[in-house]
Symmetry: none
Subunit: 414 residues, 2 copies
């Protein structure tokens, strides 16, 4: 199945927004065995949308549109679509009622714009959108499929996963494709490549391995295609296990798992509670842990000790330690982690202190220097990390490493 992606919106053309939707769609479609042959962005005016539709339809049998739907006036996609298909727009009562209900629940008034939002092309099959007010629209037109979705990323992703991909699969069954993704943390792409070179070289030709690196984590994706789906799945399961056995301490999960979810499962299985003491990460690690549903089963709280006074008063870090070794030191993170365990009343604590930048670096402790420690009642561990120069990346990198460090600490792999 060939797919063309069409993004509608002036904000992409003037570079105010980076088109991450198309990348997500490309990645997802690719995993489902579809071939994306083109990605196009056009402005949100009538002619541009019609031009975009024509060129997308000329190259593919499926066209996926995002953007240009929503309650405000800069929304002309629906009209352009209706005209393109030679269909009228008609008022869709259930869509209007859903919008009214959503706004009633939020205690907000609806306006004429919402009423207009319920006018939809008559030939559209509506795809329910639980994440927002604008439904997706599916058009079956001259043997081709055109789908229009809102541009808000989580709305588009919801519609793709729940409505669009299952329908496309039914329509274009294709040759079975399957994937297994191993999620690793703690080492870079090239180090992993060295460890698994022999495994990679020995893979059969219909199984491919892709490295998908991202800031402290590397996803290893095994993909295969075979007419015999059962044999393909059995082989992928075997290769996945072989690969895991080569780098057991790096693999924290599979497919859509998350490092913080893996950590949470380990804590829950052992009946342990956790808390953090954070300086440079400023609450980022606590945020990642609590992003997982059910985190309240094991996460009790955090002390974000950005200022040294807070490190002293709430975590009991000694003034001498801060003076002699500095806030970014093994000595300080060890006192922070003990202080957090005590103050929060948790079984296991994690502490992080570093220089996120851009200011604060010195020749001995440049920007990107990060210390972390973990402890429980029996033992502790500390580690130093050298990140880069970008503040936000350093925070994220430190967070990923801290989560992984704690996971390894708990599983006695440090």
């Amino acid at each position: 199945m060939n797919v063309s992606i069409l993004t509608i919106g002036e904000e992409i053309l003037i570079g105010q927004v980076i088109d991450t939707n198309s990348a997500w769609m490309g990645r997802t479609l690719n995993m489902h065995g579809a071939r994306v042959v083109g990605i196009h962005s056009v402005g949100d005016d009538h002619d541009a949308i019609q031009r975009g539709l024509s060129l997308a339809l000329a190259e593919a049998e499926v066209v996926l549109l995002t953007g240009g739907l929503g309650p405000t006036k800069d929304d002309i996609t629906k009209k352009a679509l209706a005209e393109f298909f030679g269909a009228p727009t008609i008022f869709h009562q259930p869509t209007y009622e859903r919008i009214v209900r959503i706004f009633q629940r939020l205690g907000r008034p609806t306006s004429e714009a919402h009423w207009l939002q319920a006018f939809l092309p008559a030939n559209a099959l509506l795809l329910p959108n639980k994440m927002g007010t604008a439904p997706g629209m599916w058009f079956d037109w001259r043997g081709k499929i055109i789908v229009s979705m809102p541009g808000v990323p989580y709305e588009m992703q919801y519609l793709m996963e729940r409505e669009v991909l299952p329908r496309l699969h039914q329509r274009y069954p294709g040759r079975p494709i399957a994937h297994r993704t191993l999620l690793t943390a703690g080492e870079g792409e090239s180090t992993i490549a060295t460890h698994i070179a022999a495994f990679e070289a020995a893979l059969p030709p219909h199984i491919r391995l892709a490295y998908l690196p991202n800031l402290g984590q590397v996803r290893l994706r095994l993909s295969g295609s075979d007419d015999d789906a059962e044999a393909l799945n059995a082989l992928l399961d075997q290769k996945k296990e072989e690969l895991r056995a080569l780098i057991p301490e790096l693999v924290y999960g599979y497919d859509d798992d998350q490092l913080e979810a893996a950590l949470g499962r380990t804590l829950k299985a052992r009946g342990l509670t956790i808390g953090t003491a954070e300086s440079c990460t400023g609450g980022y690690v606590a945020h990642r842990i609590t992003a997982i549903a059910g985190a309240s089963d094991y996460f009790l709280g955090s002390i974000v000790a950005y200022d040294n006074a807070v490190k002293r008063q709430l975590l009991g870090v000694k003034a001498e330690t801060l003076e002699q070794h500095g806030a970014v030191s093994r000595e300080t993170v060890l006192e922070m982690v003990e202080g957090a365990r005590r103050a929060l009343g948790v079984d296991v604590a994690l502490a992080i202190s570093g220089i996120a930048g851009p200011g604060g670096g010195t020749p001995e402790k440049p920007v990107g220097t990060i210390w972390m420690a973990a402890s429980d009642a029996r033992r502790y561990a500390a580690r130093k990390l050298q990140a880069g120069n970008d503040r936000l990346k350093n925070i994220e990198y430190a967070g990923v490493h801290a989560l992984n460090f704690t996971r390894l600490f708990l599983t006695d792999m440090l």
Copy 2:
């Protein structure tokens, strides 16, 4: 001048790389008064490149290509270009000598791939690329301009700034375009639309208004085009101020500003320190505040009190309050905010407690119920918010509203 951007590379289509080049080019061209009418990505095969060129040339007088040049690609782009123009490829001695010199300096050997890299379409005007081995190529063809550049971002940017933009300016002196973006928080797209309907209806035809919504925030972009740049800028400044005056409490900044940076500026200007007490947001608000460089000037720390025991012990919330009113209540957030101010030693504190979901909801307090409070030595304020059903969205939505709530509290707009 109308421009079409064409990106060549399979890695964009399969979503392995996000197309940031096109966003940079769009922004830069827009600031130079050029109008980007389309952005297209195609694969790096001969047919796809020719198809991409045709559709880009059909919509614009200038086509800017990136990608598909360099020693590891099999040079398909150059061959496809030469064929498209009906020109031969010829060996370009100076380009080859430059590549050899670069590699000699790096102490690395050259290979056949580098020799092939020096074969270029005969009708190309070469644009020297000091940042890499592949030169840019400028084609003057049937009254249109086609420029091919490498896909490495800093090489493309170097060529754009040093070679391409100056030449395009000479060729198309052009009509000035300008933008003003107002950043708002606290209300949705449709509510804002209602407030500014008369303003929007009265805009002159050469000024357009676009709504760019994103979870609790809406950017309002005024765009215009006029031969008289001075008059255009004056009019946009006037309209921007008119628009701000209609919704003064919603506008927190302009253009690339951030809500947390606006809050930081307010704190810094008043010489105040801040800290947070977070339950459902789990450190997310502290993370957003500390993502801003220089946050240590005003942010001292946070207590993430996920568990009620932490709320009691570190924030001094009374057991009776939790029992009688629950953790998600006006009474609890008011005790949390006072406790945070005391424990962290800050001038201003913010407290948040809510039900992020998916569990924990009741008929009286459904998932998405969020209470927040702010206080300083003189006064306090509390507010209830009803978010949706998605845990991560609820955390982000609560965070954005809490930052905005604190901004309004500090500027006496509550």
